[in-house]
Amino acid sequence: MGFFRQVFVIAVKDLRAEIRTKEAINASFAFALVILLLFSFAFDPSAETTREISGGLLWIVFAFAGALVLNRSFARELPNDCLDALIAAPISGAALFLGKALANFLLVSAVELVSLPVFGIFYNVRWTSQFWELMLVLALGTWALTVIGTIFSALTVNIRLREVMLPMLTYPILVPALLGAMQLTTDLVAGRPIGPDTAAWLKMLIGFDVVYTAVSLVLVETVLVG
């Protein structure tokens, strides 16, 4: 079986399991919506202020809601020792990692795509003026979140306090990607397209994704088997 077929099989397995149990996705949706709702009540910002904080607010919500999905990524393999069966199977650790990262990416993206219209309604912001550029930034930022989250989910899977450890380990490493995604999202929600002064953030986000994906693919076998 080819590498990408293996990735697809793992991703479909994770998505099917999550769709049946809805363990992570329900919690993640609920968390994202509650945070957006509470912030809108707590600060009651003007439309202008909202546009200025939109990137930060949205990415804080995405990062924390995403952690709920990412925590389950390898933890779902623990009951019945399913991780042993995956490690024993003749697939590369890289395929296993990418399959899980892809499933996580789709789940976190689903949470984001539901959160955005809710954000628009609660904060009275028209966020669609730079729609495709915003989707690109969301995809790049979400991939950064899921790559880092998935590799640390593998690393912390056997730790008793993994729910606490995963965010503590991932967020510091994610700082550059989150900064870039926040800055770009703020501009795009405010209706400003990506220009020469913000293109550096986009390049940094792409670079972050490429570098950390490559590093994760190299390290995952060691992380899983020791």
Binding site: M1, A17, N80, D84, I87, A88, A89, P90, V225, G226
Partner: protein, 232 residues
Amino acid sequence: MSAVAVDGVWKFYGDFPALRDVRLEVPPGSCLALIGRNGAGKTTLLRIVAGFSRPGRGQVRIFGNPPRETETRRQVGFIGHGISVYDELSALENLTLFGRLYGLANPRRSALEWLERTGLERVRNGLVREFSRGMRQRLAVARAFLHEPSVLLLDEPFTALDDRAVAVLQTLLRDALAKGKTIVMSTHQLREALELASHVALLNRGQVAFYGPRTPEMVADPGLVYARYSEG
């Protein structure tokens, strides 16, 4: 060439040596019963042979190759303490998934065949979380045998099995031996294991205290190896 060769394997947990210079050669087509008290290192050794964990020192070879090589993994079937199937998938989905991961030509057909062999064809679309313990164990056996492995690594395979699952497993193990496959199983069920085994290894505090062919006296008196070679 040995089917499984364990050469001077050490494994440390912190400073504690769980395995100490373990050396074993398992010939192709043989069945090794790996016995020993709780904590002797049986599971640790099997996990290293299966490639789930790396030894601190020494090396393991399966048909001359490292256990983590892709082609080696294709030749190995493993049953551990867990059943290693997904509760939220059906029996058929589980076996089809592993059939795909092992690159079988027709994963669905192989899955259906093994569901029939393990008596689970009527519940093939039922979710595993709704299965009884015995049904789950039989599905675990089907998963391990699905890709027709040349080497079977079984960690206490008879523990907690119901009568039907024990019968299914014993039949499959006899069939596997008849086809020339190699079996390494750790067990506390000495009688069942010694009936199948061609060789016996006794682990004692991480060391091989005895390794040799299984004799008729061992079958007649399953406690014999412990009595002669175990240190208390």
